[in-house]
Symmetry: C2
Subunit: 198 residues, 2 copies
């Protein structure tokens, strides 16, 4: 077990002392240590000190362990868009939502980076990731329409937001100096305005 | 066989009289008629009057039949970006590339729509589609960097272009009045500028 994994464990145990958290810890440790494809649900359950049946009470399959946070992320994005001041332009509401997501990733940086190393090794996981991102676009566009924003502005703003998130995220995970993700996101929204103004 | 399929056949036979074209025709007809999952490579080969061995000479698997055009599409996008006037801003070069792609889809509208009905029925195919779109972003960003465009402008412009393409495409396949795709794309680039300016 690498030092990173140990530190991640310590970080997680504070806020996930339950079965789900133990399964997620165990899964991530095995995925990083021996590979995603090589890991069975039985091994995950054993390392977590739980049964396979318990695993399947929480997760549909071993891929879903890595995407469990997607629901919470979507709720955060949608509620931030919904709660933005009425006077905010669509792209401003989207920017607030993406920054809120960035702040969450920043808090959980070590876990997020570990998860990313697993996803980077497996095409199926990358495909699942892209599907989840596409769902986030739909959800945010829906939240904007709820605010009375017409199409195509709603979809364009939502797509632009996820584009910014993807680029900011890629820079952030590659940053040796650990630049703050929410700040990176803010800077990229400014850059997007400049780029599209031409 | 529906009228649409027959018309698509007539449309294709003009420009794809070879084995690859016959296999693509047969595959699409079977995917639309009986479902993607229910279709075997043996059935595709038989309908095309060819052997399974010939099928695998052209396509790695039955998914790839639907994505064979992705390589040509990527070449079109990259070469259009590369050949744009030196004075063109990054987003202008990207807009030209996406419009060029739109014009190709417009020419092949019936085949594109059939292909889309197949993809819409299958999550794996949708995932493959998203992976291909992500590759197009990378390829266009690379073409911009070749023109001396710095990051993150290159990636932002490329992501914005694919976002526009996705939204325009979704409107276009839903349009009863068959609005021209390249025109839809142009209009969306204008709208993107307005949306991001806030």
């Amino acid at each position: 077990m690498s030092l990173t994994v140990i530190r991640y464990h310590q970080g997680m145990s504070r806020w996930e002392p339950n079965a789900r958290g133990r399964l997620m810890q165990a899964a991530l440790e095995l995925y990083v240590g021996q590979g995603f494809d090589q890991t069975t649900v039985a091994e995950i359950a054993e390392l977590a000190g739980l049964t396979e049946r318990t695993f399947f009470r929480y997760f549909a399959d071993k891929r879903e362990v890595l995407f469990w946070g997607a629901g919470a992320l979507q709720e955060l994005l949608v509620s931030t868009v919904a709660d933005a001041p009425e006077s905010d332009a669509p792209i401003v509401a989207i920017s607030a939502a993406i920054q809120a997501a960035g702040a969450v990733f920043q808090e959980q940086r070590e876990g997020v980076l570990l998860r990313q190393t697993v996803i980077a090794t497996n095409t199926e996981l990358q495909e699942r990731e892209l599907i989840k991102l596409a769902s986030l676009v739909s959800a945010m566009a829906g939240a904007l329409r709820q605010r009375g924003v017409a199409e195509p502005s709603a979809s364009l703003s939502a797509e632009a937001g996820i584009a910014v998130l993807k680029i900011a995220f890629a820079r952030w995970i590659g940053e040796a100096n650990e630049q703050d993700l929410a700040q990176l996101i803010r800077a990229l929204f400014v850059e997007l305005k400049i780029v599209t103004a031409s």
